[in-house]
Amino acid sequence: MMNGLIQLLSSHGISHDFIIKASFYFIAALTLVFALLVVLSRHIFHAAVYLAVVLIGIAGVYLYLDAEFLAVVQVLIYVGAIVTLFIFTVMLTADTDAGTFGGTLRRISAGALVSLAIFFILVRVINMVTIWKTAVAGASVNLSQLGKSLMTQYALPFEVISLISLAAMIGAIVIGKAEKR
């Protein structure tokens, strides 16, 4: 369907490259706007829904980097599991005062100062390194290659990750268990 759409548009004089670029910048802008909404929205439940949009947008960005498997994992784990968990926690706890963002001016200005400083330093560094402007995309990694290296070269980290997941599961059960009164 996507290819058909691209063909239709290119028959009207819009180049393939332009479509890819325009859609990427649209997705990136959408992701950033919703990320700001996650941080700024007053209701924490709305923030959770906006977070889902941000994560789907990031999955879209992964597609532009030829990481299809990670895009699927992103949607499955983040949107399917973690955002659901966030929403459940929001429902289980009461937002005791409405203005979650209503911090003091000092805190907001300190946060803005630090985050803007970090942003400008990062942009400066990115602009300084010329190779990042001209680097050519390499060959894409296919899924079987990824699975093979996970099972051979990176087998030990993979097993450690499974142990960490087990520890998190046990920890969640122990911490979340209702205390006997």
Partner: protein, 102 residues
Amino acid sequence: MIPESHFLMLGAALFSIGVFGVFTRRNAIGILMSIELILNAANINLITFSKFSASPDGLGQIFALFVIAIAAASAVVGLCLVISIYRNSKTILVNKINLMKW
């Protein structure tokens, strides 16, 4: 095609937004959400470097997978702590939680 630096700038912007959220949010769940934003920014950078680097083994994608797994574990434990704190002190606003302050 889209240059590598634009992906990196997207990551930098997401990271800064996440840092801003960690600073300004008072709700503990909001802070955890901002941390998820930061981890996702790191993932974008990892996959970008993996895509644009010369080595074709996809190490960055494997790293990103591990980051996703650890982010899931941290979200689970963090949210569990939030529920536990709420059960004990009836609030999750971090400026009202002062159990260990003296």
